[in-house]
Symmetry: C2
Subunit: 230 residues, 2 copies
């Protein structure tokens, strides 16, 4: 199965310019051919092409599945942007494949990068969603100040990855939670006062194992553990 | 801490040309400066520079730690090379960071790539070992035929990642094993007769969750799950 994405497929049954080109020009689909479209909100639609236009491919919905492969938990990962943009892009791709619902970029004291456009990350998320046959598109939030994020984050279970003696293995504390928020620091780790503030706001310290992981690797490992144990 | 690599440091206490340049030219280290060197076999050596040569930096060993952060298990991942070389390179980097002991590239029926040089993968493994402060360098084996690999692989616990009803979650079967061999198939998955052959040779079918993962993502997720337990 190959998926196309149109967030508003029920009201506007026309593929985007990019998807139209891929569908009609690259894959040479034609009128009456069947394709699958997701809306990023859990909807999976079997469609028939009604107008095989290279820029505005029109379709008709034949059947609809709601909440397609809905997960039992909601996972939000907040992560410091990496110095090298490729690395955070890779993180987004892998987490979308494995399973994540929301990603927020956070500005911490030791962050090596002070800005990060989300537009490209959203494109990567869409592509990974299609590739891994998912119908839910994770939300990618703009870079946010650490303090502000900590104070407004309202989740059932809140974790911050940090190497310390108080930290418990993520796999041991993450079971049977509906809403999980996980924070991953920059290469230089969180500052000590950031950790204290996080603890004040009920974040629990967790470790991802004994290895020293790069930021983006820590994000992917955390995502894999949550999805394996929940 | 910053690590340099010299597999034969005890007999030849001279850094490689690349490491010498990095140490002397980039980091401007000089005589009597202290550096750390690993031998890839578990040895971590504190050294003092005795000759700050840009191509042949000479050192003297001050102290030695054997079996530095030795893991309790041995993990061998056999994986089909990806069409896009970047993706298998990324897999090697991430697994070395997370923790792996041996990687074998396997030639399967549905493999999209029929050759893969290991030289570049070895370089990536060395770099990831240094970056993640490890003293063991994983072995990267040349591309090997699937059938031959299956028949000669001798491990306490052998798993093959495959989506089927008989497959058990990797996390449930991987606990308390000393030697783990895990096979990850190509994008088009293993052929049915390959799965049957693997089962004949005592490979157990495992799943890595419900998501459809790319080959390299499956490799990283499997590595993360094994290391979360062991």
């Amino acid at each position: 199965m190959l998926l196309f994405y149109q967030s508003n497929i029920e009201k506007t049954p026309i593929l985007s310019e990019e998807d139209s080109r891929h569908c009609v020009k690259v894959l040479r689909k034609n009128i009456k051919d069947k394709i699958h479209v997701v809306d990023g909100l859990g909807g999976l639609f079997e469609c028939e092409i009604t107008k095989a236009h290279e820029k505005k491919c029109e379709v008709r919905i034949l059947s609809t599945k709601r909440e397609f492969e809905k997960r039992t938990h909601y996972l939000h990962i907040a992560i410091a942007p990496t110095k090298n943009a490729d690395r955070i892009e890779y993180f987004v791709e892998k987490c979308v494949e494995i399973g994540v619902d929301e990603i927020t970029l956070i500005q911490t004291k030791h962050s090596e990068r002070k800005n990060q456009k989300t537009e490209r990350l959203e494109k990567i998320a869409i592509s990974a969603m299609k590739q891994s046959l998912k119908a839910y598109l994770p939300k990618v939030n703009e870079l946010m100040d650490f303090d502000k994020f900590i104070k407004t984050a309202n989740f059932e279970a809140k974790f911050v990855a940090h190497l310390s003696e108080d930290a418990k293995p993520l796999k041991d504390v993450v079971t049977i939670k509906n809403e999980i928020l996980l924070m991953i620091g920059p290469e230089g780790d969180f500052a000590q006062d950031e950790i204290l503030l996080a603890q004040k706001y009920d974040f629990q310290l967790v470790t991802l194992g004994n290895s020293r992981l790069r930021t983006e690797t820590a994000g992917v490992v955390a995502c894999a553990i949550v999805n394996a144990f929940n």
